[in-house]
Protein backbone atom coordinates (compact mmCIF):
# COMPACT_ATOMS: atom_id res chain seq x y z
CA UNK A 1 0.00 0.00 0.00
CA UNK A 2 2.83 2.36 0.77
CA UNK A 3 4.44 1.40 -2.50
CA UNK A 4 1.32 2.51 -4.28
CA UNK A 5 1.60 5.84 -2.47
CA UNK A 6 5.11 6.51 -3.72
CA UNK A 7 4.27 5.69 -7.31
CA UNK A 8 1.10 7.68 -7.17
CA UNK A 9 2.94 10.68 -5.84
CA UNK A 10 5.66 10.41 -8.41
CA UNK A 11 3.01 10.31 -11.11
CA UNK A 12 1.35 13.35 -9.60
CA UNK A 13 4.60 15.23 -9.64
CA UNK A 14 5.28 14.31 -13.22
CA UNK A 15 1.80 15.30 -14.22
CA UNK A 16 2.16 18.69 -12.62
CA UNK A 17 5.57 19.22 -14.17
CA UNK A 18 4.27 18.24 -17.58
CA UNK A 19 1.43 20.69 -17.21
CA UNK A 20 3.75 23.51 -16.24
CA UNK A 21 5.99 22.76 -19.19
CA UNK A 22 3.06 22.60 -21.50
CA UNK A 23 1.82 25.94 -20.26
CA UNK A 24 5.24 27.44 -20.78
CA UNK A 25 5.44 28.33 -17.12
CA UNK A 26 8.66 26.36 -16.77
CA UNK A 27 11.32 25.51 -19.30
CA UNK A 28 14.22 23.07 -19.46
CA UNK A 29 16.35 25.17 -17.16
CA UNK A 30 14.14 23.91 -14.33
CA UNK A 31 15.11 20.38 -15.30
CA UNK A 32 18.72 21.46 -15.21
CA UNK A 33 18.21 22.55 -11.60
CA UNK A 34 16.73 19.19 -10.75
CA UNK A 35 19.76 17.50 -12.22
CA UNK A 36 21.93 19.44 -9.84
CA UNK A 37 20.15 17.93 -6.86
CA UNK A 38 21.55 14.74 -5.42
CA UNK A 39 22.47 13.10 -2.14
CA UNK A 40 25.19 15.63 -1.51
CA UNK A 41 22.76 18.47 -2.09
CA UNK A 42 19.31 16.98 -1.52
CA UNK A 43 17.40 20.24 -1.13
CA UNK A 44 19.12 22.21 -3.80
CA UNK A 45 16.06 23.00 -5.88
CA UNK A 46 13.90 24.14 -3.01
CA UNK A 47 16.76 26.21 -1.60
CA UNK A 48 17.29 28.03 -4.87
CA UNK A 49 13.57 28.52 -5.41
CA UNK A 50 13.18 29.87 -1.88
CA UNK A 51 15.84 32.46 -2.57
CA UNK A 52 14.15 33.23 -5.86
CA UNK A 53 10.81 33.82 -4.13
CA UNK A 54 12.24 36.12 -1.54
CA UNK A 55 14.22 38.14 -4.06
CA UNK A 56 11.34 38.35 -6.50
CA UNK A 57 8.95 39.59 -3.90
CA UNK A 58 11.35 42.34 -2.97
CA UNK A 59 11.70 43.31 -6.60
CA UNK A 60 7.96 43.29 -7.16
CA UNK A 61 7.46 45.52 -4.15
CA UNK A 62 10.09 47.92 -5.44
CA UNK A 63 8.50 47.99 -8.87
CA UNK A 64 5.13 48.74 -7.39
CA UNK A 65 6.56 51.59 -5.38
CA UNK A 66 8.37 53.02 -8.36
CA UNK A 67 5.14 53.09 -10.29
CA UNK A 68 3.15 54.76 -7.59
CA UNK A 69 4.24 58.22 -8.62
CA UNK A 70 3.08 58.76 -12.14
CA UNK A 71 5.05 61.95 -12.64
CA UNK A 72 8.36 60.91 -11.26
CA UNK A 73 8.58 57.25 -12.13
CA UNK A 74 12.20 56.24 -12.17
CA UNK A 75 12.28 54.11 -15.26
CA UNK A 76 15.99 53.50 -15.05
CA UNK A 77 15.62 52.00 -11.65
CA UNK A 78 12.70 49.94 -12.85
CA UNK A 79 14.84 48.52 -15.60
CA UNK A 80 17.51 47.55 -13.12
CA UNK A 81 14.96 45.65 -11.05
CA UNK A 82 13.49 44.10 -14.15
CA UNK A 83 16.86 42.95 -15.36
CA UNK A 84 17.44 41.30 -12.03
CA UNK A 85 14.09 39.59 -12.11
CA UNK A 86 14.59 38.54 -15.69
CA UNK A 87 17.95 37.07 -14.87
CA UNK A 88 16.90 35.08 -11.86
CA UNK A 89 13.71 33.90 -13.53
CA UNK A 90 15.64 32.63 -16.47
CA UNK A 91 18.12 30.92 -14.16
CA UNK A 92 15.41 28.84 -12.54
CA UNK A 93 13.47 28.19 -15.73
CA UNK A 94 10.55 30.50 -14.99
CA UNK A 95 9.85 31.20 -18.63
CA UNK A 96 6.55 33.02 -18.48
CA UNK A 97 7.63 35.30 -15.67
CA UNK A 98 10.75 36.13 -17.61
CA UNK A 99 8.79 36.92 -20.75
CA UNK A 100 6.52 39.31 -18.91
CA UNK A 101 9.63 41.05 -17.57
CA UNK A 102 10.79 41.55 -21.14
CA UNK A 103 7.51 43.18 -22.11
CA UNK A 104 7.57 45.24 -18.95
CA UNK A 105 11.03 46.46 -19.72
CA UNK A 106 9.97 47.50 -23.21
CA UNK A 107 7.20 49.63 -21.72
CA UNK A 108 9.65 51.12 -19.26
CA UNK A 109 12.10 51.99 -22.00
CA UNK A 110 9.33 53.99 -23.59
CA UNK A 111 8.45 55.61 -20.29
CA UNK A 112 4.98 54.23 -20.82
CA UNK A 113 3.46 54.46 -17.37
CA UNK A 114 0.16 52.81 -18.19
CA UNK A 115 1.93 50.05 -20.04
CA UNK A 116 4.20 49.49 -17.09
CA UNK A 117 1.27 49.26 -14.72
CA UNK A 118 -0.41 46.69 -16.90
CA UNK A 119 2.81 44.75 -17.17
CA UNK A 120 3.32 44.84 -13.42
CA UNK A 121 -0.11 43.41 -12.82
CA UNK A 122 0.53 40.67 -15.30
CA UNK A 123 3.90 40.03 -13.71
CA UNK A 124 2.39 39.74 -10.25
CA UNK A 125 -0.22 37.38 -11.59
CA UNK A 126 2.29 35.13 -13.34
CA UNK A 127 4.56 35.17 -10.35
CA UNK A 128 1.72 34.12 -8.03
CA UNK A 129 0.73 31.31 -10.29
CA UNK A 130 4.31 30.09 -10.48
CA UNK A 131 4.74 30.29 -6.74
CA UNK A 132 1.56 28.34 -6.06
CA UNK A 133 2.46 25.63 -8.51
CA UNK A 134 5.99 25.28 -7.23
CA UNK A 135 4.70 25.00 -3.70
CA UNK A 136 2.39 22.25 -4.86
CA UNK A 137 5.33 20.53 -6.47
CA UNK A 138 7.40 20.71 -3.32
CA UNK A 139 4.55 19.39 -1.20
CA UNK A 140 4.16 16.37 -3.43
CA UNK A 141 7.92 15.88 -3.37
CA UNK A 142 7.97 16.02 0.42
CA UNK A 143 5.17 13.52 0.71
CA UNK A 144 6.93 11.26 -1.71
CA UNK A 145 10.17 11.45 0.27
CA UNK A 146 8.29 10.60 3.43
CA UNK A 147 6.48 7.73 1.80
CA UNK A 148 9.73 6.36 0.39
CA UNK A 149 11.37 6.53 3.77
CA UNK A 150 8.65 4.52 5.43
CA UNK A 151 8.56 2.07 2.58
CA UNK A 152 12.09 0.89 3.10
CA UNK A 153 12.76 0.44 6.78
CA UNK A 154 16.11 -1.10 7.58
CA UNK A 155 16.27 -4.91 7.77
CA UNK A 156 12.56 -5.57 8.08
CA UNK A 157 10.43 -7.23 5.48
Amino acid sequence: MLGWGVDFLRAEMNRLLALLFHQGVLDEQFLQLQQLQDESSPNFVSEVITIYFSESEKLLRNLRMLLMDRELSDYKKMEIHLNQMMGSSSSIGAKRVRNVCVAFRAASEQSNHAGCLRALELLEHEYCYLKNKLHELFQIEQQRALASGVRYPAQHD
Partner: protein, 258 residues
Protein backbone atom coordinates in the same frame (compact mmCIF):
# COMPACT_ATOMS: atom_id res chain seq x y z
CA UNK B 1 49.49 18.63 -28.23
CA UNK B 2 51.32 20.00 -25.30
CA UNK B 3 48.75 20.57 -22.65
CA UNK B 4 50.52 23.30 -20.82
CA UNK B 5 50.78 25.80 -23.65
CA UNK B 6 49.22 29.02 -22.57
CA UNK B 7 47.85 29.34 -26.07
CA UNK B 8 45.72 26.31 -25.58
CA UNK B 9 43.53 28.21 -23.24
CA UNK B 10 43.73 31.32 -25.29
CA UNK B 11 42.04 29.62 -28.13
CA UNK B 12 38.34 29.87 -27.81
CA UNK B 13 37.21 26.98 -29.82
CA UNK B 14 38.33 23.72 -28.38
CA UNK B 15 37.13 20.36 -29.44
CA UNK B 16 36.15 18.88 -26.15
CA UNK B 17 36.84 15.37 -27.31
CA UNK B 18 40.42 16.05 -28.20
CA UNK B 19 41.15 17.91 -25.05
CA UNK B 20 39.63 15.28 -22.82
CA UNK B 21 42.68 13.26 -23.54
CA UNK B 22 44.91 15.97 -22.20
CA UNK B 23 45.82 16.16 -18.59
CA UNK B 24 42.91 17.48 -16.61
CA UNK B 25 43.36 20.84 -14.95
CA UNK B 26 43.48 19.37 -11.49
CA UNK B 27 47.04 18.20 -11.22
CA UNK B 28 47.36 19.27 -7.66
CA UNK B 29 43.80 19.19 -6.42
CA UNK B 30 40.77 20.67 -8.00
CA UNK B 31 40.87 23.88 -9.97
CA UNK B 32 39.63 26.92 -8.16
CA UNK B 33 37.02 29.09 -9.80
CA UNK B 34 36.03 32.55 -8.71
CA UNK B 35 32.41 33.22 -9.66
CA UNK B 36 31.14 36.78 -9.69
CA UNK B 37 27.46 37.63 -9.87
CA UNK B 38 25.28 40.17 -8.14
CA UNK B 39 22.29 37.82 -8.17
CA UNK B 40 22.08 35.47 -5.21
CA UNK B 41 20.02 32.99 -7.18
CA UNK B 42 22.64 32.91 -9.90
CA UNK B 43 25.47 32.60 -7.43
CA UNK B 44 23.81 29.61 -5.90
CA UNK B 45 23.25 27.98 -9.25
CA UNK B 46 26.71 28.64 -10.64
CA UNK B 47 28.26 27.46 -7.43
CA UNK B 48 26.41 24.18 -7.65
CA UNK B 49 27.17 23.78 -11.34
CA UNK B 50 30.85 24.27 -10.63
CA UNK B 51 30.98 22.04 -7.56
CA UNK B 52 29.24 19.23 -9.35
CA UNK B 53 31.84 19.58 -12.09
CA UNK B 54 34.58 19.08 -9.49
CA UNK B 55 35.77 22.63 -9.19
CA UNK B 56 36.47 24.43 -5.97
CA UNK B 57 34.34 27.53 -5.91
CA UNK B 58 34.38 30.93 -4.34
CA UNK B 59 31.46 33.19 -5.10
CA UNK B 60 31.43 36.94 -4.68
CA UNK B 61 28.73 39.45 -5.37
CA UNK B 62 30.63 42.18 -7.14
CA UNK B 63 33.61 43.07 -9.24
CA UNK B 64 35.20 45.03 -6.44
CA UNK B 65 34.87 42.08 -4.08
CA UNK B 66 36.41 39.93 -6.76
CA UNK B 67 39.39 42.24 -7.05
CA UNK B 68 39.78 42.23 -3.30
CA UNK B 69 39.75 38.48 -3.32
CA UNK B 70 42.31 38.41 -6.09
CA UNK B 71 44.55 40.62 -4.02
CA UNK B 72 44.19 43.59 -6.29
CA UNK B 73 43.16 46.73 -4.57
CA UNK B 74 40.34 48.38 -6.44
CA UNK B 75 41.90 51.82 -6.39
CA UNK B 76 45.33 50.91 -7.50
CA UNK B 77 45.97 49.91 -11.04
CA UNK B 78 49.13 47.99 -10.31
CA UNK B 79 49.13 44.30 -9.76
CA UNK B 80 50.31 44.74 -6.22
CA UNK B 81 49.35 41.84 -4.07
CA UNK B 82 48.29 42.34 -0.57
CA UNK B 83 45.92 40.45 1.62
CA UNK B 84 44.02 37.57 0.17
CA UNK B 85 45.57 35.80 -2.74
CA UNK B 86 44.20 32.32 -3.02
CA UNK B 87 45.20 30.96 -6.35
CA UNK B 88 42.40 31.27 -8.83
CA UNK B 89 42.40 29.23 -12.00
CA UNK B 90 39.44 30.80 -13.68
CA UNK B 91 37.14 33.73 -13.22
CA UNK B 92 33.57 33.50 -14.37
CA UNK B 93 31.61 36.68 -14.13
CA UNK B 94 28.25 38.10 -14.98
CA UNK B 95 28.35 40.99 -17.40
CA UNK B 96 25.58 43.16 -15.99
CA UNK B 97 26.41 44.15 -12.47
CA UNK B 98 25.93 47.42 -10.65
CA UNK B 99 29.10 49.40 -10.13
CA UNK B 100 31.83 47.42 -11.82
CA UNK B 101 30.50 45.45 -14.75
CA UNK B 102 31.93 42.11 -15.78
CA UNK B 103 33.65 43.91 -18.59
CA UNK B 104 35.28 46.36 -16.18
CA UNK B 105 36.45 43.45 -14.08
CA UNK B 106 37.81 41.72 -17.14
CA UNK B 107 39.76 44.82 -18.06
CA UNK B 108 41.21 45.19 -14.60
CA UNK B 109 42.29 41.56 -14.57
CA UNK B 110 43.88 41.73 -17.98
CA UNK B 111 45.64 44.98 -17.16
CA UNK B 112 47.21 43.47 -14.09
CA UNK B 113 50.54 41.82 -14.64
CA UNK B 114 49.84 39.53 -11.75
CA UNK B 115 46.42 38.42 -12.84
CA UNK B 116 46.27 38.69 -16.58
CA UNK B 117 46.91 35.06 -17.29
CA UNK B 118 43.84 33.99 -15.35
CA UNK B 119 41.22 33.01 -17.91
CA UNK B 120 38.04 35.02 -17.68
CA UNK B 121 34.67 33.90 -18.90
CA UNK B 122 31.75 36.29 -19.19
CA UNK B 123 28.10 35.34 -18.68
CA UNK B 124 25.17 37.33 -19.86
CA UNK B 125 21.48 36.86 -20.33
CA UNK B 126 21.52 39.20 -23.29
CA UNK B 127 22.92 38.50 -26.68
CA UNK B 128 24.42 41.82 -27.65
CA UNK B 129 26.98 41.47 -30.41
CA UNK B 130 28.82 44.63 -29.50
CA UNK B 131 29.09 43.42 -25.95
CA UNK B 132 30.34 40.00 -26.95
CA UNK B 133 32.83 41.53 -29.31
CA UNK B 134 34.10 43.96 -26.72
CA UNK B 135 34.66 41.21 -24.19
CA UNK B 136 36.49 38.97 -26.60
CA UNK B 137 38.63 41.92 -27.68
CA UNK B 138 39.56 42.50 -24.10
CA UNK B 139 40.70 38.93 -23.73
CA UNK B 140 37.74 36.98 -22.41
CA UNK B 141 37.94 33.32 -23.24
CA UNK B 142 34.31 32.90 -23.86
CA UNK B 143 30.99 34.59 -23.61
CA UNK B 144 28.35 32.28 -22.20
CA UNK B 145 24.67 32.92 -22.57
CA UNK B 146 22.62 32.59 -19.43
CA UNK B 147 21.02 30.51 -18.12
CA UNK B 148 24.23 28.62 -17.63
CA UNK B 149 24.00 24.87 -18.02
CA UNK B 150 26.10 21.97 -16.91
CA UNK B 151 27.45 21.52 -20.41
CA UNK B 152 28.72 25.12 -20.39
CA UNK B 153 30.52 24.58 -17.13
CA UNK B 154 32.07 21.30 -18.18
CA UNK B 155 33.54 23.10 -21.14
CA UNK B 156 35.38 25.45 -18.80
CA UNK B 157 37.93 22.84 -17.91
CA UNK B 158 39.52 23.60 -21.20
CA UNK B 159 40.45 27.10 -20.11
CA UNK B 160 42.05 26.17 -16.85
CA UNK B 161 45.35 27.68 -16.03
CA UNK B 162 48.10 25.21 -15.55
CA UNK B 163 49.86 24.71 -12.24
CA UNK B 164 51.77 27.63 -10.83
CA UNK B 165 54.92 25.68 -11.59
CA UNK B 166 54.35 26.33 -15.22
CA UNK B 167 53.16 29.82 -14.67
CA UNK B 168 56.48 31.51 -15.30
CA UNK B 169 56.71 29.89 -18.64
CA UNK B 170 53.15 30.94 -19.41
CA UNK B 171 53.86 34.54 -18.48
CA UNK B 172 56.83 34.68 -20.78
CA UNK B 173 54.79 33.32 -23.62
CA UNK B 174 52.04 35.77 -22.85
CA UNK B 175 54.23 38.76 -23.51
CA UNK B 176 55.10 37.35 -26.86
CA UNK B 177 51.53 36.67 -27.91
CA UNK B 178 49.79 38.95 -30.26
CA UNK B 179 46.25 39.87 -29.38
CA UNK B 180 44.63 36.46 -29.19
CA UNK B 181 41.50 37.58 -30.91
CA UNK B 182 43.39 38.67 -33.96
CA UNK B 183 45.32 35.49 -33.87
CA UNK B 184 42.14 33.51 -33.65
CA UNK B 185 40.65 35.26 -36.63
CA UNK B 186 43.72 34.60 -38.66
CA UNK B 187 43.57 30.96 -37.75
CA UNK B 188 39.93 30.85 -38.64
CA UNK B 189 40.74 32.06 -42.10
CA UNK B 190 42.96 29.07 -42.56
CA UNK B 191 40.67 26.45 -41.16
CA UNK B 192 39.44 24.02 -43.69
CA UNK B 193 36.48 22.81 -41.79
CA UNK B 194 35.23 26.15 -40.62
CA UNK B 195 31.57 26.87 -40.32
CA UNK B 196 29.69 28.20 -43.22
CA UNK B 197 29.89 31.78 -42.12
CA UNK B 198 26.71 32.85 -43.75
CA UNK B 199 24.69 30.37 -41.76
CA UNK B 200 22.99 32.07 -38.89
CA UNK B 201 19.89 29.94 -38.90
CA UNK B 202 18.31 28.65 -35.77
CA UNK B 203 18.79 25.11 -36.92
CA UNK B 204 22.54 25.32 -37.16
CA UNK B 205 24.38 22.48 -35.52
CA UNK B 206 25.76 23.00 -32.09
CA UNK B 207 29.17 22.49 -30.59
CA UNK B 208 32.20 23.75 -32.48
CA UNK B 209 34.65 21.11 -33.51
CA UNK B 210 36.62 22.72 -36.27
CA UNK B 211 39.51 23.77 -34.12
CA UNK B 212 40.49 20.30 -33.06
CA UNK B 213 42.31 19.34 -36.18
CA UNK B 214 43.94 22.70 -36.52
CA UNK B 215 45.20 23.11 -32.99
CA UNK B 216 48.67 21.66 -33.40
CA UNK B 217 49.82 24.04 -36.09
CA UNK B 218 48.24 27.08 -34.52
CA UNK B 219 49.55 26.24 -31.10
CA UNK B 220 53.09 26.28 -32.31
CA UNK B 221 52.70 29.27 -34.56
CA UNK B 222 51.03 31.47 -32.01
CA UNK B 223 53.96 31.16 -29.65
CA UNK B 224 56.10 32.98 -32.09
CA UNK B 225 56.21 36.65 -32.65
CA UNK B 226 57.64 36.60 -36.12
CA UNK B 227 57.07 39.87 -37.90
CA UNK B 228 55.16 38.37 -40.78
CA UNK B 229 52.82 36.63 -38.40
CA UNK B 230 52.16 39.80 -36.47
CA UNK B 231 51.65 41.81 -39.62
CA UNK B 232 49.28 39.29 -41.05
CA UNK B 233 47.41 39.15 -37.81
CA UNK B 234 47.09 42.91 -37.68
CA UNK B 235 45.86 43.08 -41.23
CA UNK B 236 43.32 40.41 -40.54
CA UNK B 237 42.18 42.16 -37.43
CA UNK B 238 41.61 45.37 -39.30
CA UNK B 239 39.57 43.64 -41.94
CA UNK B 240 37.68 41.54 -39.47
CA UNK B 241 36.86 44.41 -37.21
CA UNK B 242 35.17 46.23 -40.02
CA UNK B 243 32.34 43.78 -40.43
CA UNK B 244 30.18 41.71 -38.16
CA UNK B 245 32.80 39.15 -37.50
CA UNK B 246 32.70 35.45 -38.00
CA UNK B 247 33.82 35.10 -34.44
CA UNK B 248 30.66 36.83 -33.30
CA UNK B 249 28.49 34.50 -35.26
CA UNK B 250 30.38 31.55 -34.03
CA UNK B 251 30.02 32.73 -30.49
CA UNK B 252 26.31 33.05 -30.84
CA UNK B 253 26.05 29.56 -32.11
CA UNK B 254 28.30 28.17 -29.47
CA UNK B 255 26.23 29.71 -26.82
CA UNK B 256 22.87 28.63 -28.03
CA UNK B 257 22.06 31.75 -29.94
CA UNK B 258 20.08 31.63 -33.10
Amino acid sequence: MDGHDVVSWRRRTHGIDALDSLQPSSDSGEAHVLAVDDSLVDRKVIERLLRISSFRVTTVESGSRALQFLGLDEDKSSGHFDGLNLKVDLIITDYCMPGMTGYDLLKRVKESSALREIPVVIMSSEKVLARIDRCLEEGAEEFIMKPVKLSDVKRLKVYMRRDSGERNESEAENRVNVNPKRKLREEEEDDDNNYDDSDLSASSPSPPTCSVSSSPPSASSSCLSSPSMAAAAAATAAAAAASASTADKRWLRMNGGD
